[in-house]
């Protein structure tokens, strides 16, 4: 295999492995939204507060997944 193909192969594998980190963010978002929806169902009066906190939590959980995305984008497009 020529070196160019080896580099592309390594990049693709690396980027794919880096995106495994997004699974954690997905689990976190699922848990927090699930909890928030249950809470909203039990006391609909507090929907606004719960929603705000839920979105905050989702944003923080998503941030971790975004770090994985950044790493993978760097591997794919910046690393040469």
């Amino acid at each position: 295999m020529d070196p160019q193909s080896t580099i592309i192969l390594g990049k693709a594998i690396g980027a794919g492995l880096a995106m495994i980190g997004a699974a954690g963010g997905g689990i976190g978002i699922g848990l927090s939204v699930g909890g928030a929806v249950q809470a909203m169902g039990r006391n609909p009066d507090h929907t606004a507060t719960i929603q705000t906190n839920m979105i905050l939590g989702v944003a923080f959980a998503e941030a971790v997944a975004i770090y994985a995305l950044v790493v993978s984008l760097i591997i794919l497009f910046v690393l040469s």
């Binding site: 606004a48 905050l56 944003a59 941030a63 975004i66 770090y67 995305l69 950044v70 984008l73 794919l76």
Partner: protein, 469 residues
């Protein structure tokens, strides 16, 4: 008007569907060359008064500004001057609904002394990001553009020479009205690669012939051996006789029909491969190669090699791969745009913090007040420093959340339009909602963080009371 269209809209949809089928068959869909940074326009397209070339994402954001400006002018003109006057209706109502709904929404989250400032930031960011995100749904964005050869000059410092690097791309063809298209069915193969493939096919064929000849010779030798010894089979003798006899017979067997057939078979496979490309009206393998090696040193001074920017209609155009550089690309797929909005949002968060709490806002980050008073003072210091890091991480997560979602979305649309050119609509509907949600999340998080920054950590009760009165 309305009664006329009743029940007829379905036929309009059907017509659009048929038009989609026709276009998809006539112009084969192309997967564009995907790259993360915004693509630079060719030379000569500079931003006025600045010596910087336009990028296509920047053109996209200028269009967003213009559209928003037109909306603003429209809304201010339509707005009733007198409170009792009924609004003149139409499109204006959409904005009333939008503003009233979102005002209530933000009011529940960040209603307070700083509501006006927070809502202004919220609405500005929401509208800009929404318009930018929805741009990917507009036909022609990402598809119509400059057609340009995908060739780069690369300076090789070791050998002190320029190398011509050709990368992926498509063949070009002249279509309807003399417009140049990239041919999605023919990915470009450099003449050098083509020649190398021909050489490889020849070598393979020669090997196949030899192998066939060897096989024939072994068979013949074995048959003769069997005839001679008449089945007395002792293995050692068989092996020795075999090798000897095979070599003798191989030279004759090379000329035999079966060996020639094996030779022709390999060459025919290669020819069929080329013919398949020609049937798709590709021309690689047909055009003569002016240079034998695509990676050969490219000497600028000699100017003997191919032109880097040939006319798409000329024959020289067949010697380079072509890609489309879109006139307009979705601005949110460029990190510059998302990072800028994230920085604005970050600055506004700090600004409103200082505005609400004065210099005391800094105690949120540098909390040394309790260091020597309470046994757990050190923890407060650490928490403050974590807040500081977290605030800078906000820039990163803000910008990459939007970039990641919209970039991935537009690639999804590319791929789906390529795979299912007739019916990619469901994905367009999906992207419609993703655009709204991402714009809302961006604006809402800004509003929430701004609201959090106005709340003091230590005097919560006093502050709330002061706000209430």
């Amino acid at each position: 008007m309305n009664s006329f269209w009743n029940g007829k809209r379905r036929f309009v949809a059907l017509l659009m569907f048929l038009a989609g089928v026709f276009v998809a068959l006539r112009v084969p869909p192309v997967i564009p060359f995907i790259q993360l940074p915004g693509e630079k326009f060719p030379e000569g397209f500079n931003i006025p008064f600045v010596d910087i070339r336009w990028t296509n994402t920047m053109v996209g954001s200028v269009i967003v500004w213009i559209v928003l400006l037109l909306f603003a002018i429209y809304v201010t003109r339509r707005r009733p001057k007198d409170g009792n006057e009924a609004p003149p209706g139409g499109f204006y109502y959409l904005f009333e609904v939008l503003f009233e709904g979102l005002m209530g929404f933000v009011g529940r989250i960040a209603g307070g002394r700083h509501f006006r400032l927070i809502f202004n930031m919220f609405m500005t960011i929401f509208l800009v990001v929404l318009m930018a995100n929805w741009m990917e749904l507009v036909p022609g964005v990402d598809t119509i553009g400059f057609i340009h050869p995908h060739v780069k000059e690369k300076y090789d410092a070791e050998k002190d020479e320029y190398k011509l690097v050709t990368t992926d791309g498509y063949e070009i063809y002249q279509g309807f009205l003399g417009i140049s298209y990239v041919n999605g069915q023919c990915d470009w193969i450099s003449p050098a690669d083509e020649a190398a493939a021909d050489q490889a096919a020849l070598a393979n064929a020669e090997q196949a012939r030899l192998a066939a000849a060897q096989g024939l010779a072994v068979q013949a030798a074995y048959a003769r051996y069997k005839a001679e010894h008449n089945g007395h089979g002792d293995d050692a003798a068989q092996e020795g006789g075999d090798g000897h006899g095979a070599d003798d017979h191989a030279e004759e067997a090379v000329e035999s029909d079966e060996a020639a057939a094996a030779y022709d078979e390999v060459l025919a496979a290669r020819e069929a491969e080329k013919q398949a490309r020609r049937d798709r009206s590709c021309y690689t393998g047909v055009a003569p190669a002016p240079w034998q090696d695509g990676y050969e040193p490219y000497d600028k001074t000699k100017a003997k090699d191919i032109s880097l920017h040939p006319d798409p209609r000329s024959d020289a155009a067949k010697l380079v791969p072509w890609v489309v550089l879109p006139f307009v690309r979705v601005p949110s797929t460029d990190l510059n745009m998302t990072l800028t909005i994230a920085l604005i949002s970050f600055v506004m968060i700090q600004f409103i913090g200082f505005k609400a709490l004065g210099i005391g806002y800094l105690t949120k980050f540098f909390n040394f007040g309790t260091l020597f008073k309470s046994p757990l003072g050190g923890i407060d210091v650490a928490v403050g420093l974590l807040e500081l890091i977290g605030d800078f991480a906000k820039i990163l997560s803000f910008s990459f959340r939007l970039l990641g979602n919209i970039f991935a979305g537009s690639i999804l649309l590319f791929v789906m339009s390529f795979l299912v050119p007739i019916l990619p609509w469901p994905f367009f509907i999906l992207e419609f909602f993703v655009g709204v949600i991402q714009a809302l999340v961006f604006a809402l998080l800004t509003a929430i963080f701004m609201n959090l920054a106005t709340i003091s950590h230590h005097h919560d009760d006093d502050h709330d009371q002061a706000e209430a009165h």
